[in-house]
Amino acid sequence: MKYRVTHITKYHYSKNVTLCHNVAHLLPRNTLRQTCDVSELKISPLPSNTSEWSDIFGNRQASFSIEKPHTELVVTATSEVEVSTASSLIDGAFPISWERAVEHLKTSTDPETIETRMYVLESEFIEFSDDIKNYSQKSFIPGRAILDVVEDLMHRIFKDFKYEPGFSSIATPLEEVLKHRKGVCQDFAHLAIACLRMQGVAARYVSGYLETIPPKGKKRLVGADASHAWFSVFVPHLGWVDFDPTNAKIPDEQHITAAWGRDYADVAPLKGVIFGGGDKNKLDVSVDVERI
């Protein structure tokens, strides 16, 4: 399937911003199941300087600065991404218990597997706690195949937690999400990652997009889509397998990956520092995923 993704971020400032320096993770990377040949970052007002490099996770990171006074910043990322289906990858997997997967990760001398151990550690948004460990326990039945463990965990999060925009912010700690049993996609991804890492399984955060299909008989609304987040698990001999706890499904052709990292902090779509700007600033984000 081929898509055109248009991700528009608009900041409106109540006072002039005289200078800003930003970092964006808005240009989709290539992955085993997707290629992005055409992509463009349009910035208004025109930046004085732009550059792109590959970060430690292999994502495309763009940096830009605007040095003239402005009250509006518009960043438009447009990309064409070809996505292939993922299920075939998993079908060929042989069952391996989660304990063996954990052991393999600890002892493997394969260079890539060794580096994967960075995804078992705590990170900015992934803080370990007894509550998280307790929650994860039910899925980690001794001897259970790793993929079954993760699938079970995904379904439990889907069932136990209520999707409720507005409840949590980026700063809401996992403990709170766990206590109130609600949140949004990034909370569910973070929670699953914490559960897995506490048991020694390598898990990473994936930021991206999801194609939404309009109800029958209705027209697709342009810009109604949103950025999305899910997680990915490292399975020995197989590689990384994605899971979407918000929709309780294994991502397929409708999931488009933008970037991945240890958690949200590594792949925030747009972050930066501004000088000036007042205290009534507005943010508008619109995403459009269109088949081409």
Partner: protein
């Protein structure tokens, strides 16, 4: 040399080690048999020969020199004393040339090794991929800054500066206790120690053939020059400091001065057009190399720690683009992970094909199962260090812990083993310090400094020797209140004299680097000028009122309360209450003016603000000025001890304080180059003096008083503005208000008149840089002109007139009211034109925004 001295060893000297009771372990001066080591003979002979009185005198001289230079090591969380002199012991640590050669070679190897580790971990990461360094050791360490991978390599020795803390074990072997690679501090203190000791023990120092330190700093300059991305031109280098609140701010200012670099804080730098610039009063100046004295993580809120207000937003990307160099490179703090210690022998084999030449104090990383078991089994006799201080503490001696605390630590380690390291609690060697009752042994740590040279690393022949503050204590740290020593590496033959002193004097003689004045510096200078003037004015009024309290007549109390109200801005009730009540009220007001807790313009608060301002620009002031600033600091201490009971003691303090403040004014007037920073100091002083005179006129002259009171008030006012003599010389018969106003307002020849202040101010403002983005300069010029004209056009006869109905000099009142609104506006215009060149930065994403689905 040493043999000749061995022969002439005096009987007292041979007894020296016997009176000096040694604790367990190796002693640097005495052998186990109680003999003095040969390389200590000459020093000890000479010190002994001086006699205890002379030694005491020289010790005091050393402390005086330190205090005068305001050598401080700020202790965090100690709000009341923002600075305190650290202690310097007279007896240097001596190291023989031959032994030093071995230590030096070992440290050079270690620096080389750590450099290769750094290059690999921020480059191909082969050491991780091949399983030599476990990934947890790197990726969980807060010093590993992943945005800093694959940065341009400007020098094959990317690790420009390295320092090692060395200890000697009971067998006499030197070991590395810990590695410093973030932004090693202490070399400035080592230099300062050397300057002090070589001044108080000049001939002893000269005859001991001690290796000089200057070469190390020269090599440091070359190393930083080599990093410059601009070839062929003299690079612009700045020293980036977190600011005066940092514990080692003295050193930052000291080194910046010595090396001739501009001392900057993050807000002085800005990133534009993918380059780093220094914002000066004249505009932007490009920066090529940043000597970093700030933890890497705090250097850029865009890509590194977002909560940092200290750094330079956008810096990381400029470094990545190769347009600026930072030394040490961002991310070098990773090498301070004590867990690396256990891997170094292996790393040395892998990377250098050599054995490690200087061993480390044995350490075990709990991230490794076997090592962790060892640590937990031997916990009670080890030192536990987290891999990074942010994990909660720097280190703990388990032997000193209670059972319960030890158990808690054990659980902490078990929960997150990869974050902890156990290290042997080694009995460090002792070195003699000169205490009141003779020589005493103290445990010691030597910090040794290395810098990248063209083909190798170069070690400073010397270093910072620190000793424990108490007997038997193994904790040696400046934060725990330690004692420092100079470190002498003895040359076998006299070293060619490299002029360290003259070099340092040169660097210090030019503190004002002309145009390179960051707005922050101008701001602090301006406020230093204002606070100094304000303090002097408060002090003069206080002195007068205190004199009255001691000798005055009770019916005069009201007059003095009125005078005092100049400082409190509170109107004295009129007509007056009973005299006794008044007197008590006067005392209470005095206390409020001196040190009132809720009074933001109390004398102590003003002095505190003055000290804070000058400490923020310490690299701009001469050492003579520092001596005066220390006197002011001492007076502040005395004033804090004043209470209502000993109020009268405050009188002496006022005399001392006024002398010190006048000296400060005089010194800055006479000794500072008339550069931009001086100009801002004087602008501050002129604005404040205008305000003070104007307030004084308000409280003493607006309300008409009885003739008796008026004479007393006018006399007092003239005394305070130091113009009583000139008045008496000119007008011999009593007080006449128009004449008085002429002298204090109109007379441009009286340095304490309003007209004098404003004409100075006009000239200063005209000389300030024209080129400025903000466009508020016109406003500044207009305000100055208007205010000066207002004063020049003043008609003293009209100002002196009293309105019959109200009993007030209303024309004067209006005149002063206008003045009192203009001056703060002028101060604000100055601020917006020159000081606040940028707004404060903040994050684009507030933590409230969210991913939508």
């Amino acid at each position: 040399m040493s043999e000749a001295i061995t022969e002439s060893i005096t009987p007292e000297l041979s007894q020296l080690c016997r009176g000096y009771s040694s604790v367990a372990g190796h002693d640097e001066m005495c052998t186990a048999d109680g003999d003095i080591r040969s390389h200590w003979h000459y020093l000890m002979q000479s010190l002994n020969g001086m006699g205890s009185g002379e030694l005491q005198r020289r010790r005091e001289e050393a402390w005086r020199l330190i205090r005068d230079n305001d050598v401080t090591y700020n202790i965090y969380g100690d709000m009341d004393s923002t600075s305190r002199p650290w202690k310097l012991d007279l007896v240097p640590l001596l190291i023989e040339s031959e032994e030093w050669r071995n230590i030096e070679a070992g440290l050079m190897q270690r620096a080389e090794l750590l450099n290769l580790v750094l290059l690999d971990l921020y480059g191909p990461r082969n050491l991780i991929k091949k399983g030599v360094i476990p990934p947890e050791l790197v990726f969980s360490h807060p010093g590993f800054l992943n945005p800093c991978i694959n940065m341009p390599i400007l020098d094959s020795r990317a690790l420009t500066f390295y320092a090692a803390d060395l200890v000697r074990d009971a067998s006499g072997q030197i070991n590395v206790l810990s590695d410093r690679a973030q932004s090693p501090s202490g070399s400035g203190y080592a230099l300062e120690n050397r300057l002090v000791i070589s001044r108080v023990l000049p001939s002893l120092f000269r005859d001991s053939h001690t290796h000089r330190l200057a070469n190390f700093f020269r090599t440091s300059r070359h190393a930083l020059n080599r990093l410059s991305p601009r070839e062929g031109e003299e690079p612009n280098i700045v020293l980036l400091s977190p600011g005066p609140a940092n514990e080692a701010y003295f050193e930052h200012a000291y080194l910046a001065n010595y090396l001739g670099y501009t001392l900057v804080e993050g807000s002085d730098l800005t990133v534009r057009n993918n380059r780093v610039w220094l914002t000066t009063l004249e505009g932007l100046r490009p920066v090529d190399v940043i000597l970093r004295r700030m933890d890497g993580a705090y250097c850029d809120p865009v890509e590194l720690r977002g909560d940092s207000y200290l750094g330079v937003p956008g810096l990381t990307n400029v470094v990545r683009s190769g347009n600026v160099a930072v030394a040490n490179p961002l991310g070098s703090g990773l090498l301070e992970n004590p867990a690396l210690i256990s891997l170094l022998p292996e790393l040395s084999k892998v990377l250098l094909g050599e054995e490690l030449r200087v061993p480390s104090v044995p350490a075990w990383w709990c991230g490794d199962k076997l090592q962790c078991d060892y640590v937990l089994e031997n916990l009670d006799r080890l030192v536990i260090k987290p891999v990074h201080p942010s994990i909660g503490f720097r280190f703990v001696f388990c032997a000193e812990m209670s059972k319960a605390k030890l158990e808690k630590l054990r659980q902490q380690i078990k929960a997150k083993p990869h974050l902890f390291v156990g290290q042997e609690a080694m009995t460090m060697s002792t070195v003699p310090i000169l205490a009141r009752d003779g020589l005493k042994p103290r445990h010691t740590v030597l910090r040794s400094f290395l810098v990248a040279d063209e083909h190798d690393y170069m070690a400073m022949p010397g270093g910072l020797t620190r000793v424990s503050s108490e007997d038997n204590k193994l904790v040696v740290s400046n934060q725990a209140g330690g004692i420092n020593k100079d470190t002498w590496v003895l040359a076998t033959e006299p070293e060619k004299y490299v002029s360290l002193l003259s070099e340092s004097r040169q660097a210090r003689l030019a503190p004002d680097r002309g145009g390179e004045v960051p707005g922050r510096v101008a701001d602090n200078m301006f406020w230093a000028g204002r606070y100094a003037e304000r303090a002097e004015s408060i002090s003069r009024i206080l002195r007068l009122v205190l004199q009255f309290i001691e000798t005055g007549e009770s019916e005069e109390t009201q007059v003095f309360r009125r005078l005092l109200s100049t400082l409190t801005n509170q109107l004295t009730p009129y007509p007056y209450d009973s005299a006794a009540e008044d007197f008590n009220a006067l005392e209470a007001e005095m206390m409020n003016v001196i040190s009132g807790r809720m009074n933001p313009v109390s004398l102590t608060q003003t002095l505190f603000s003055l000290l804070r301002s000058v400490r923020s620009v310490r690299d701009r002031l001469s050492s003579d000025t520092w001596r005066i600033i220390n006197l002011i600091d001492e007076e502040l201490g005395s004033l804090r001890g004043i209470s209502a009971q000993n109020l009268i003691d405050a009188m002496d303090e006022q005399d001392n304080l006024i002398t010190a403040l006048t000296a400060f004014t005089g010194l800055t007037l006479e000794n500072m180059t008339r550069g931009r920073s001086w100009r801002f100091l004087d602008i501050g002083r002129r604005i404040e003096r205008t305000l003070q005179i104007s307030r004084l006129l308000q409280t003493t002259l607006i309300q008409e008083s009885s003739e008796e009171d008026q004479i007393l008030l006018s006399d007092s006012m003239l005394t305070i503005v130091d113009s009583l003599m000139s008045y008496r010389r000119r007008y011999r018969y009593g007080i006449k208000i128009p004449e008085l106003l002429d002298l204090v307002i109109y007379d441009e020849n009286n340095p304490r008149s309003l007209a004098f202040q404003l004409s100075k101010l006009e000239r200063h403002i005209a000389d300030l840089p024209q080129e400025n983005e903000s466009g508020s300069r016109n406003e500044l010029e207009r305000l100055t002109l208007e205010t000066a004209t207002l004063v020049r056009l003043a008609d003293v006869n009209r100002l002196a007139q009293v309105n019959e109905d109200s009993g007030r000099r209303e024309t004067l009142e209006n005149f002063l009211n206008v003045l009192n609104t203009r001056l703060p506006a002028l101060s604000d215009a100055l601020t917006s034109t020159y000081f606040r060149t940028t707004e404060t930065p903040h994050q684009l994403i507030s933590l409230r925004s969210r991913v939508e689905q």
